[in-house]
């Protein structure tokens, strides 16, 4: 899990303009300025990074990083 969270953190800081200081496992996606469009874009990037598909109805701006990581980890497994 921690590995997935770390990789999400790297993607968000390098591709989605999230300052490293704002990133944490507890952070809510919308607080990182990740709106629904940004999350669709994240789905495309995550598909390349993790090899999994994330559909629009599986993730919400009100989710935390940990919830997003749990979703990705469940698909990778």
């Amino acid at each position: 899990m921690n590995d997935v969270i770390e990789r999400i953190g790297k993607l968000l800081t390098s591709r989605f303009g999230v300052p490293a200081a704002e990133f944490s496992a507890e952070a809510v996606l919308s607080d990182l300025d990740l709106d629904s469009l940004a999350l669709v874009e994240f789905g495309l990037v995550a598909e390349t990074e993790f090899g999994v598909k994330i559909s629009e109805d599986e993730v919400s701006p009100t989710d935390t990083i940990t919830e997003l990581a749990t979703l990705i980890a469940s698909k990778v497994a």
């Binding site: 591709r15 989605f16 303009g17 999230v18 300052p19 300025d33 469009l37 940004a38 669709v40 874009e41 495309l44």
Partner: protein
Amino acid sequence: MSWSGFDVAVTGIGMVTPAGVGTEASWANILRGVPAAAPDPVLAGLPVDFSCRVPGFDAEVTLGPKVTWRTDRYTHLALAAAREAVGDAGLDPATWDGARVGVVIGNALGGTSTFEAQHDVLRREGAERVSPMLIPMMGISMVAGYLAIDLAATGPNLVTVTACASGATAIGTARELLRCGKCDVVLAGGTEASITPLIVSTFAKMGALSRRCADAARASRPFDVDRDGFVPAEGAAILVLERAADARARRAVVRARITGFGASADAHHATMPDPSGAGVQQAIAMALADAGVGPGEVDHVNAHGTATPLNDVTEARVLRRMLGDRPAVTSVKGVTGHSLGGAGAIEAACTVLAVQHSVVPPTANLDRQDPEIDIDVVAGAPRAMPISTAISNSFGFGGQNAVLVVSAA
């Protein structure tokens, strides 16, 4: 009803141009007359492989990473220019009445680099891989929307599209919004960042571009006998405009005034200027009438001066016919190249600075003036001279003409 002489103050300027990042750097290099054109790695291998890019602009540093990743470069340039302009005007978006602040930005082509990149994704990887950010990044309206978000400006918000006249049309339109009382402040200007392989290839195929690939710095040569086309450029400029009475009331520094605006259509040809110059003449006459000044009072002309064979001779004939040999004429495109929707605003900013500082920048690369061009073009060095009244010309494909009158504060 006569509106003649309606007075709009320019209280702030922001410039992000091939001559430099920031108004001070841009103006200094435009006065020096050093051409910005250089070989462009993005265009390597194309028939025209050079351009005028903004040097040393890092959007992430200037705007922050959260804004940068979700906006196209044409918006980056405008955001940076707008922030500079608002600061220069001494205004604070945290305290202003945003409902009274309008945004009018000229742009010709939108986020073309985003568009081209995502088209490549569609062809290579399929529809499911296309970014959902494409429309909000490339849409021509988006730049004005992002400026509103960035600066809490909730008044009238629009983008003017009149090709290479877009930036001047925006400033003229902003003047109308102030005149009819729908805004107290308008951020008006233009932006473009369309130096992409597709756009440059088609301009080259049209025959509009200089082919002086082996000598890029000398390629943009307005009014010169050896000119052979324009040099593609990027850039933005934004002005803060207010009614002059309001500006005086808040004791703002007034750099100069926008006292007239004229617009017309050639109704002649899609891309070629009307050789009679009738449309251009009509726009200049409308602008001068709007300002309430006569053709004999124009001290300085910031010409459209693209360095295409047809534009320069046609424009010069109209200037000679209407204004005689009095005005000192320049084209800053010798330095900056031609930034399409950004050009009219960059040149309006230069005209304001020329009036404010009583100096006309030189036309770079004007070594031997075309004998067909019988006007007083400033070349070699800046010319110090008092300027009460100046005009800035901008003409677009489509035959759209826009002319601004700039008067001393």
